[in-house]
Amino acid sequence: MDPFVKLTGVAAPLDRVNVDTDQIIPAVHLKSIERTGFGKHLFEPWRFNANGSPVPDFVLNKPAYSNASVLVAGRNFGCGSSREHAPWALSDYGIKCVIAPSFADIFFSNCFQNGLLPLALPEEQVREILDHATANPGVELTVDLEGQRVWSEDEKISITFEVDSARRHALLNGLDNIGLTLEHEDKISAFESSRGL
């Protein structure tokens, strides 16, 4: 897995709550058997009209935000399906960090498997970032997982945060979970034999 250490990039405000996985990547695009190529369908229902033309009002279609690498959104981001295609689509588009007041459980853990940081911050702080990114199109944020701080270049935004140590460690080092678990192979085998499995 790719590590996530520190990132500087444009922050796109998506001021909506309960952004669900069917909007992030519709099921019709889940037929691919690859892990890449989903970025072009990211937010398709909101990003494109039925004829395929871009919806000009949608944040990622505005030139200042189109190369965003941080997405800022409302509470319960990523609710719905377990599709890992959601973080794949975000990441394939270039978004490596999503900031929101809260995340759905499965989406949250899927991000950590893909070098993408889902950063949960208190509602007021997310509001502050949303407003700042809206008022200053194209403003860049730096998200530093090592130092656990987010800031804008002008330091109008400066927020410290905490990510739980196990997840942070895994993301900083791009650890392979399967490899880690297989270090306990003896315990798995012992469990199986004790249960007659």
Binding site: N18, Q23, L30
Partner: protein
Amino acid sequence: MPPQTLFEKIWDAHLVHDEPEQPSIIYIDLHLVHEVTSAQAFDGLRMADRPVRRTDLTIATADHNTPTWELTRPVVDEISIKQLEALTKNCEEFGVTLYDRFSPYQGIVHIIGPDLGYTQPGKTVVCGDSHTATHGALGAFAIGIGTSEVEHVLATQTLRQFKPNTMEVRINGELPAGVSPKDVILGIIGRIGVNGGVGHVIEYTGEAIRSMSMDGRMTVCNMSIEGGARAGMVAPDQTTFDYLRGRRFAPQGKDFDEAVEGWKTLPTDQGAKFDRLVEIESSSLEPFVTWGINPGMVIPVTSRVPDPASYSDPNEREVAERALQYMGLEPDTPMEEVKIDRVFIGACTNARLEDLRAAAEVVKGKKAHPDVYSMVVPGSALIKQQAEEEGLDRIFTDAGFDWRVAGCSMCLGMNPDILEVGQRCASTSNRNFENRQGKGGRTHLVSPAMAAAAGIAGHFVDIREWS
């Protein structure tokens, strides 16, 4: 030993490794696999040269992208064909049992697990699908996982998990007539909200749950994820044991009786503590319909579409306005006056035999509304066969409803069954997200009886008044 909840007992019995501040490693008893979330996981195994650790605990089926037309007619979508072929090839290469489109055991992954007796009390069950909570109805701890975790389970037969919190949702009293299990879960989500259960495993308790059939309990547990919960569970009891006895892959004979003795120790002990409790009186539950774009936007069928102007919170108001705009609804319209174009009876929420019977009873001897196209899609090939033996298919087709082959169908807009832009559907599925059933489609979640009645009347009706 302090008193424990059902969930805690299963969790403790499956702990392989535990250390402070790290996710626990828990053993997985049953891994269900389907075509959409597995190809990349098998690829990962191949690249790392890892085998599937326990092919005997891994079962695959094809359900999401398979068409529901007759089996003699081939799949035509080329990318779907590739995905189905990848599943077949992966299962062959890694030695995993596959119930493909033509198998008599094929069906929606969350329907076949219990139906074939794979899902049992006390088991840990995972699947690369968020509605895995369905299996919790049998007293299993069942959770949806992403593709990386699918690969992890294939390789290690374990899952890394932080221990979730627990929440009891207690439904007091007997359900009023006309209120179905679907209404119970819609009522719960309306109450706790779409993120009310985040980080929690829900155990559903109370009289209404105890007197519910297994099919009904599965409907309730199915939508746990729509309330944000990690899983949903119901303690096993005689209803559970009677359901499982004699099922194809359940223990048989003396082994079954022994298993039951073990299962009887699973229910939550008296005095065990949950982190949260939500209590709901059955008498407050009614037949519900969703009006918006998530399952928490739900009202009794007898009430009116909400008016965003009545919301005091400006954010909530804006969300409601956007939802109404998407749904093409005017504030204050009586729900019973809302006309529909389509009916979908199916999905892992409501495609079991009891659901089909409930819908058939409503439809029997009546004719579909001429402006509505209705389809009924059984949850598995076995359920289809049983329904046909009972003559349910004839009841539907005589009324002008379409009778289909098992699969996820119009639940998710990934196979040929989709809504057209602007079409309004009374659906027994579990998600009314924008574009879920097809781009621009408008979904209203209801029970099977309510969906069937809407297909006859052409608009929503209060099933309690139906004759």
